[in-house]
């Protein structure tokens, strides 16, 4: 066996470059992981962490990227995740890949069944599963169905599944994002325990305090490039130090100039609490209070899983969550938008982060979609005035610059930027007083982003209150007059435009519950 090259490292990724059409996702990334350590990878949403892990695990096969992967001293050319698993690299994705109606044991050995000539040996399966469950500290019978155990335990089943494949390098993508504190602590303890057993882990996490407590080394990725690798056991490596690495970039003029004219308060929510729809003990939004004034663009910053979308959707006619409590005031009067229709009538609008699945009817025309949320405005006694509807669609096409030969074209054929303009048209046409825009520029090219920002500014100038939810801090800093930060369902900070910096926001965004209470 040739292990002479770099015996110290179990994995080296050298000069990894990955291109998607029109996008350079990774540019000359280097990553070196020592045998037996816990190596954290940090970066903002969209920095390229997940892409890098997909390259490593063979989701993007050898040949679709540039650069070398050296695993255990040998150059690896994975064509699929099967190849990478074969040598002992297992990735556990954020969305767990378990089959809900199969048992724990069946899931552990899925695709790797304990069988003789195609016939499953159940005794062998269950007894081995029981041993693996003991190793991960999960006290459940192997024949329990996945659907009957919580997310935290499911995460442990994933790890047991990885162990069954004789894992050498375990990759965990945001393993604690969906877990409560207790489950998180158990999971982190388990990962430390695996280190004692000689298993190397790569952990991707937004929770910097977790990284600080368990990681041996941290690599920071920003804009598809490796920024630095920090030795966590050295002195002086704090959360602030990591944050500085994660955000350090300057703002240029990617944003239109805008001077706000701010009026009276148009929306205020107080003590808004939302529980998870299934796990009702878990608070997804926890006592959030915020307000928006007319003409103001208010940002909500938060990392993945902080509860941003959940806050917005629960507010918008209780489209998300259970056991929702708190008060909503519109122009000083309390309102009770308990369904989407009532929310629209109350003057709220919500443009979803997921245009294709929740925002648009892709197989209908631009005209259909634009009038979709306020069809009553172009109809009399239930009959649509198509003349009027066309006029409206045409007006928005010209106003917002939707590039299409005709408003009778199908929305599915438009580019991302133009689809987003259709979404905005739909909500502007419903004539709301408050617009909540969730990731309004996700998946849109830079030019179209500028146009979207211009539209947002015009909406504010028309006296509407605008709430922008975004993962991109530069975007929030560029367009918002005031920014709230959200962490684990709590509002952890409120920063005016003049005082906002990425470091400051990131500090609040990564603030843990305990810190908030202090």
């Amino acid at each position: 066996m040739d292990t002479t090259a770099t015996p110290d490292y179990i994995l080296e990724m050298r000069g990894i470059t990955k291109r998607f059409p029109g996008v350079l996702a990774l540019s000359d990334v280097n990553l070196s992981v020592r045998r037996g350590e816990i190596h954290a990878i940090c970066g903002e949403n969209g920095a390229g962490k997940s892409t890098l892990m997909k390259v490593l695990s063979g989701v993007y096969p050898h040949g679709s990227y540039e650069g070398d992967i050296v695993f255990e001293g040998r150059t690896a050319e994975f064509r699929s995740t099967r190849d990478s698993e074969h040598v002992g690299i297992v990735i556990i994705h954020q969305e767990l890949a378990l089959s809900p109606f199969l048992s724990i044991a069946e899931n552990i050995f899925l695709g790797n069944e304990r069988a003789a000539r195609g016939v499953i040996d159940w005794n062998h399966t269950n007894s081995e599963a029981a041993k693996l469950l003991a190793r991960v500290g999960l006290d459940e019978r192997p024949d329990t169905k996945i659907i009957d155990i919580g997310v935290g335990k499911q995460q442990l089943v994933e790890i047991a599944k990885a162990l069954s494949k004789e894992v050498k390098l375990l990759i965990l993508d945001e393993p604690t994002a969906a877990l409560n504190d207790e489950d998180s602590a158990h999971l982190l303890g388990l990962i430390s325990g695996l280190r004692e057993q000689g298993i190397t882990s790569i952990i991707i996490s937004h929770k910097l305090n977790e990284i600080e407590s368990i990681a041996d080394t941290t690599t920071i990725i920003r804009d598809g490039q490796t920024i630095e690798t920090l030795d966590m056991r050295a002195d002086g490596v704090t959360e602030e130090r990591i944050i500085r690495g994660m955000v350090g970039r300057s703002l240029d003029n990617r944003f239109p100039e805008h001077t706000p004219t701010i009026g009276d308060e148009v929306l205020r929510i107080e003590d808004w609490t939302v529980h998870h729809p299934l796990d009702q003990a878990r608070k997804v939004v926890d006592g959030a209070s915020l307000n928006v004034r007319r003409g103001e663009i208010v940002g909500i910053a938060g990392l993945m899983g902080a509860g941003r979308t959940e806050l917005a959707m629960s507010l918008f006619g209780r489209s998300y969550g259970s056991h929702i409590s708190g008060r909503v005031y519109k122009d000083g009067k309390e309102i009770h938008p308990t369904n989407v229709g009532a929310a629209i009538d109350a003057g709220l609008a919500y443009a979803t982060e997921d245009r294709k699945h929740y925002g648009l009817n892709l197989i209908a025309t631009i005209r259909d979609n634009i009038s979709g949320a306020a069809i009553h405005k172009v109809s009399k006694r239930g009959v649509i005035d198509r003349n009027e509807e066309l006029k409206v669609a045409e007006r928005f096409r010209k106003d917002l610059g939707i590039r299409t030969p005709t408003v009778e074209a199908l929305v599915g054929k438009l580019s991302g930027g133009n689809q987003q303009k259709v979404v905005l048209s739909k909500w502007i046409f419903s004539d709301p007083d408050v617009l909540i825009l969730d990731e309004p520029t996700r998946g849109i090219d830079v030019g179209a982003k500028y146009e979207i920002y211009t539209i947002i500014n015009r909406l504010a100038d028309a006296g509407k209150g605008v709430i922008v939810i975004s993962s991109e801090l530069p975007e929030l800093l560029g367009i918002c007059d005031r920014i709230y930060t959200l962490s684990q369902g709590r509002i952890t900070g409120e920063v005016a435009r003049e005082e906002a910096t990425q470091e400051r926001l990131m500090h609040y965004m990564t603030m843990e519950k305990d810190v908030t209470r202090r």
Binding site: G341, L362, T365, V383, N387, E408
Partner: protein, 411 residues
Amino acid sequence: MSTDTNLAPAMPPGEQARIPLSQRLAGLGGNARQYGIFAALVAIVILFQGLTDGRLLKPDNVVSLFQQNAYVMVLAIGMVMVIVAGHIDLSVGSVVAFVGGVVAVTITDWGLPWWVAVLIGVALGAVVGAWQGFWIAYIGIPAFIVTLAGMLIFRGLALVVVSQTIRVNDDSFNSIVSGSLPNFLGFSGDMDVVTLVIGALAFAAFAFSQFRARVQLRKHDLHVEAVGLFVAKLVGIALALGFLSVLLSLSAGGMPIILVIVGVLIVAYTFLMGRTVFGRHIYAVGGNRPAASLSGVRTKRVDFMIFVNIGALAGVAAIITTARGGAAVAAAGQSFELDAIAACFIGGAAVTGGIGRISGAIVGALIMGVLNMGLSIMSVDPSWQQAIKGLVLLFAVAFDLINKRRAGTSG
């Protein structure tokens, strides 16, 4: 076997006509498919006209074509709405048998006037639809399961109501299908003038609505069909309607009442689906249910209403079926649901919902009807007729899918 070989080379002319047409009309969205399906119907009619030595389009055969297929057209109207919303209804055949039985009982056993029986039939259908709609919309059971249960439930109830054949000896009731409009305008040659006038009015109404739509598009600088195409369309429709009117006017009775009823339903439901908020909501729900819900559409109510609606239409189909047979039998409506579903898919409805038109479903029903009648006139074994209809359904949908893939609209 001879039909197989006859049919195989015969399909392509109609089908081939669809390819260049749909490509030329690519900018028109759904319209191209509509023209394609019309072309396929015309091709099939011409084919069978040849194969039957001209017997297919004999005036009395044309009348019975409509009388025989009225129930499919009525059910297809309801079914296409259900399919557009992303559901399915397997129960309509059984509902037809059950409601038909009750209608026969109200006339024959209870001696109520025929028009009361008609009202009871439609209302009972709507109640059945409300029952199924409740489980689907508000309890959240998939429509496939609820209506599969309904298929068993209402077939069973039909057997209870109609333990033996119930004759209906009410001429007014039976003339709903067999009767014709009274000829109060006399004859022109051998032609019934009432029929010709109705044909002319239908064309005038169609031409007027087309002109109006065109003028509106112009006014907003929107893309309109090329003038040549527009004129060709009008001429085509004029020829088709004129031809049909003349044929019907030469039939023994003139204008069949059932065609008037079906025609009114087609116009009303085309308006409902194309021009009303309710129709728009059906397309929105079928196209993207979560997005519709987040736009304030009350999706559950839409689901409920379309099932009430197809229930009522199944009531209408039950009246038609009972009147046509002059009796109610427990086995009535066998496989009607499959005829209606096939008509919708031949007519271009999408299995995944969101796409489908009343006109498409009607043309789909007519294609099946013409196949039925043509093959019957040719005395093809009914078993082969089944098989041939199955193949037509398969090929029509496959053709649509391949065409769409080529145009790059799917996936």
